[in-house]
Subunit: 267 residues, 2 copies
C-alpha cells in the first residue's frame, strides 16, 4: 500500500534529494531518474526502482500503475507525493510525472562478452554528463554492446547524464575501467581499437571496419593522450571544412559509430 | 588605455551580467561570449566585442593583446578585471581568461544566397541551447551555408548556446524566420527540403541528395508538425537498432549532414 509524503522536511525526501550529489550517490549506491518514458524503459529492461515517487494526478496515467506494481512486487516502496517535491527531487521546474530511485549497477570488463555486438563504444576522461548520456543514447541506436568509460569520466549516474541518455543508461551496459586494465583485456580477445583523433590524415570512411570494433573517443578538450593513440590499431579523422578544429565529442562519436554500423549493414 | 574594474557593484558589470537573461539581451542588443578560443575565432571572423574583460594574468597571453587592440581600434572598451568578476559574468566557476560582450547580429532570409553552399541546416522549435550550439558547430564542420531557425527556437545568443557552439556562432550565419516566411522563400529558388522524421521508412542513405540541400530537424520532443512534413520534398529516417525511438536532435542532424556532405564529396 503506497504511503504518502507531502512534507519537504521528510527525512526520506531529504536523503533522496541528496542523491543529486555524487558523494551521496557513492555512499548510498543509489541514483535518481525521472520521467515516465525513462522509468518505463527501465522497467522493460528489468530495472525496478527501490523508491518510486509519483503524484495523485500521475497515478491515473496507464503507465504508472505497472511501475507501482513492479516496485512493490520487488520489495521497493511506491510513494505518493506532490509536484513540488517531485520538482525538488529532480531539480527541474517541470519534472515529469514520476521520479525513481535505483540501485547503481556496475559491469566488470571481465563480464563483457565482446562477441555479442559488432560495435563497442569507449570514452576516456569524458567530462560532460550531457555528452555521456547522449553517447549512451547513440549506443542504443547503433546496437553497441556497451559503453566502456576509461579513467576519470563524469559519473554516468548523475541526474544530467541519466536525463540526456533518455533511458539508454538502462539498456546499454556501462563498464568503468582504468586504461591499464582495459588494454590487456582488449588484447586478450579479437577486436580492433579505432581512435578518433585530430592527429591523423586518415579519413574515417577509408578503412573497412571489422567486428568487433571498439571505437575510442577522447576527452572533450584535449582528445586522447599519446599513449592511447599509439595503442590504437587505427586512428581516423572526420573531415572538417570549417574554421573549427573539432566536433562535439558526442557528435563525433555518433558520426563515426554510424559509419561503422552502415558498413556492417551494407555488407 | 584600458580601464580597471574590480568591484562587482560596478554598474557596467551588473549590466553585463544581466545579459545572461534573454530579456536584457533583447533590450540591449548585446550578448556574452567567453574563452580565448571563442573570442579569437570571433576576431578572425571579423566580430569584435563592444566590451572585452580580461585579467592582469590573462593580459600576458599572446592572444589577448590582439583582442585588446582590435576592441579599442573599433571603439570598444577593454577592461581589466579580476577572475571573480569574470566568473560572475560567465556564470562558470572556471570562466577562462576573457569575456567579450558583442552586438547581436541578425540575418534576413532575403539576404541569404543559397548558391554559396551545398548544405543548409534548418531547425524548428529547437528548445535546448546546447543542441543549438552543437548544431552550429556541426554546421561549421560540414561547410553549411548557415542555420535557419524556424518559429520559436531557443535564443542562439544565450550563454549556453554560444558556449556549445565553440565559436561557430561567429562563423556560421544564423537566420530566424517563421515557417510562413521560410516556405515561400525556399520555393522561390532551387533546393530540396529534406526532413528528418520518425514517420517514414525511407532510409537516410537511400536518396542521392542534390545541392543545395536544406536539412530540416524538428523539435526535440515532438519532431516537426505534420504540415512541415508534408511540405518536405523528402522525409528520411536514420535507422535505429535499439530500444529508443529517437536520437538526440544535434546527433541526428550531424549524422544526416555528414551523409549529405559525404555524398557530395565522393560524387
Amino acid at each position: 500500500m503506497p504511503r504518502e509524503i507531502t512534507a519537504y522536511s521528510n527525512p526520506l525526501i531529504k536523503r533522496m534529494r541528496n542523491l543529486r550529489d555524487k558523494r551521496h550517490r557513492r555512499e548510498e549506491g543509489l541514483f535518481l531518474a525521472e520521467g515516465l518514458r525513462i522509468l518505463t524503459e527501465a522497467r522493460e529492461a528489468g530495472r525496478i526502482p527501490d523508491y518510486l515517487f509519483y503524484t495523485a494526478e500521475s497515478a491515473r496515467h496507464p503507465l504508472v500503475a505497472p511501475l507501482v506494481a513492479a516496485t512493490e512486487a520487488q520489495g521497493g516502496e511506491a510513494i505518493e507525493t506532490n509536484a513540488d517535491i517531485l520538482s525538488k527531487l529532480s531539480g527541474k521546474d517541470n519534472p515529469g510525472s514520476v521520479v525513481g530511485v535505483y540501485p547503481e549497477f556496475a559491469l566488470e570488463l571481465s563480464a563483457i562478452d565482446r562477441s555479442t555486438a559488432p560495435i563497442w563504444l569507449v570514452a576516456e576522461r569524458l567530462r560532460d554528463p550531457g555528452n555521456l548520456g547522449t553517447i549512451l543514447r547513440t549506443g542504443d541506436a547503433v546496437g553497441a554492446g556497451g559503453l566502456i568509460l576509461l579513467d576519470d569520466c563524469v559519473d554516468p549516474f548523475s541526474v544530467e547524464a541519466v536525463r540526456a541518455s533518455m533511458g539508454a543508461l538502462f539498456t546499454v551496459p556501462v563498464a568503468r575501467a582504468r586504461w591499464e586494465e582495459f588494454e590487456p583485456w582488449l588484447r586478450a580477445g579479437p577486436g580492433q581499437l579505432v581512435g578518433l583523433s585530430l592527429d591523423t590524415s586518415h579519413d574515417y570512411q577509408a578503412p573497412r571496419y571489422a567486428a568487433p570494433t571498439f571505437l575510442l573517443t577522447g576527452n572533450e578538450a584535449q582528445g586522447m593522450p599519446p599513449h592511447m593513440e599509439q595503442a590504437c590499431d587505427l586512428l581516423v579523422k572526420i573531415p572538417m571544412l570549417g574554421k573549427a578544429d573539432s566536433l562535439n565529442a558526442a557528435v563525433a562519436t555518433a558520426v563515426m559509430a554510424y559509419e561503422v554500423r552502415n558498413q556492417f549493414r551494407h555488407g
